[in-house]
Amino acid sequence: MPADSTQIHNIGYRHYEGPRLGRAYATRSLFSQSLRGAYGLGRSAKSKVLPMILFGVMCAPALIMVAVAVATKANDLPIDYTRYAIVLQAVISLYLAAQAPQTVSRDLRFQTVPLYFSRPIERVDYVRAKFAALSSALFILTAVPLVVLYVGALLAKLDFADQTKGFAQGLVSVALLSVLFSGIALVISAVTPRRGFGIAAVIAVLTISYGAVSTVQAIAHEQGSSEAISWLGLFSPITLIDGIQTAFLGATSAFPGKEGPSAGAGAVYVLVVLALIAGSYAALLRRYRKAGL
C-alpha cells in the first residue's frame, strides 16, 4: 500500500446541507429526551438506580397479587384497579420527588434554558414537552402495574367484561393522576431550582397535604359529619383523584367510612382538578418567561 494512503487528511469545515426539521421536531426530541431521562435512560448508571427501583417496587405488589389470584383460583383480584395507585401513593410521591426536579430544575440550575430559547422552540413548546414527558413517565409508572393486574386477571380466567371495565376505569384514573401530580410537582421544582430543596418540597406538598386532609377527615368521621368528609377531599391531590374515581369511575372510596363525594360534589372535584392542571401549566409558562436569556 502506498504510504500516502495512510495519511490523515484534514477535510476542513463542512457545511450542513441536510434538512432542518424545525420546531415541532425539536419539541418531540425534547419530549423523548425528557421521558427517557425520567427513567435515567441516556444518563449515568447512577441516575437509573432510583427510578428503576421505584418502578420495580410499583410493579411487585401487582405481580404478587396476580400470582396469588392465579394460584388460589380466586373469583376476583385482591384489589380494585382504581385502588392500586392510592395504596401505593408513597411510591408515586417518591418517584415524582426524585424525577420532577431532574426534569426541570437541572436546566434552570445550570442555566441551560437560554440555549433552548435561542433555538427554534418557543417557551410553550418547552413547557409542553416537559409537562408531557413527566406525565407520560408517571403514567408508565402507574399504568404498567394495572396492565400486569389485567393480564393476570385474564390468565386467572376472571370475568372478561368485568375486568376490562375495571381496567379501563383504572387507566382513566391514573392518567388523570399522572397529569395532575406532574403539574404540581413540576411547578414546585421549577420554583426551587436548588438540588434537594425541590425533592423535599415535592414530598412535603404531596404527603403533608394528604396527612392533613385524612386527619381532619378522621375527626369529621368521629363526629359523624359525612358531608364534611367528602368536601375535605378537595384539599389534597390524592384525595382529589380518589373523589373523582369514587364519583365517576366506580371506585370504592378510601375516605374514612367510605364517604366519597356524590356525583354533584364529584363535578366540583373534576373542576378543581382541571383548574389545578391548567393552573400549573400557566404557572410554568410564567416561570419560564423570566428564565429566558
Binding site: A26, S29, Q111, T112, S118, P120, L293
Partner: protein, 349 residues
Amino acid sequence: MTVIATESLSKRYPRVTALDRLSMDIGPGVTGLVGANGAGKSTLIKILLGLSPATEGRAAVLGLDVATSGGEIRERVGYMPEHDCLPPDVSATEFVVHMARMSGLPPAAARERTADTLRHVGLYEERYRPIGGYSTGMKQRVKLAQALVHDPQLVFLDEPTNGLDPVGRDEMLGLIRRVHTDFGISVLVTSHLLGELERTCDHVVVIDGGKLLRSSSTTDFTQTTTTLAVEVTDSDEHPDGTGALRKALQGRGVATQDDGGGLPGAGHTVLLEAEGEETYDLVRDVVADLGLGLVRMEQRRHHIAEVFRSNDEQQGEPAPGHEAPSERAAAWAATAAAAEQTGGARDAR
C-alpha cells in the same frame, strides 16, 4: 450584503432605556460589539434573536424581520451565552447532540455534526467525559460548539473570553477568527476588552447607554502608523543594549523616543519613525553591528482605546441625563491598557 440591520431600534423598560434609537448595518465577517456592562449589548442580542420585542424601530437579521420571523432566525443563528450553561453530569458529545436536535437536525446528522464541530473547536478524547471535570477553556469550547453545531450563518458570542487565562484567551480569539475565515460563518462578538476585538474583528461597533457611539472597520480604528517599536537583548559588550541601540541609531541620524506609558518593559523598547523600507534594513544592520539580539521589530498601531480618548475630546460635553461617557471610556482605556500589557508581544503581526 447586510447580516444585521437595525433602524432606530429602541428598548425601554419601565425605569431604564436599554437601547436608544440604535441604527446600524453590520456586514459579513467578524464584528465586535463593545460596551461597558449595561451598555445594551445583551438586550440587543435578545432582540436580534427575536426573543424580546423592541419598543420601537425595526431590526433584521439575515434579511429576516426579528418581530415576525424569530423562529426562522433562530434556526440559522447560533448563540453562545456569557454565563455557564452546561450541565456537569453529561458528556460534551451527548450535550451537543441534544442541542443539535433542538436546532432541528435529524438524529444521525446531529451526531455527525457534533463529532465534526467538537473536533473543530479542539475537543478530542475528553468529549466522552462528563463536562463537570472540564477546565474553563474546555467548557468555553463546548459552549462555542453548541452554537456552531447546526452550521448557522451567523453566531452571537457573548463575552467568549470571560474567565480564560491569556493563553486560553488567545486560543479562543484564534478560534473565533477561524469561525469566519475557515467556516464562513459571520460572527458578532461582544467584549469589554478593546484590545481583544482589535486583534480579532474586521469591524467594531461601540455602544454606550444604548446609543451607537461609533461603527467602523478595525483598520479605520487603528490605522497602521509608521512608528516602529524595536526591542533588543543586552550583551556583555553592551550591558544596556537598548541604550546602545539608541545611541547608534542617533549616530546614523535616526531620531528615537522611549516607549512611554510606564509599563513594565517599556524602557526596553525603542520607538522610531520608519521612513520606508530602508529604515528596517538600517535597524537590522545596526543591531547586527552591535552584536545584539533582535527580540522584536514591529509596527506600532493605534489602539482602539485611543479612539475613545479622541472621541471624548471631540464630544466635549456629555449628553445631559446620561452617565458621562468619558468616565466609562477612561475606564475602558485602562482595561485595554492592562490587556495590552499582558499581550504586548502578540501585537506583532
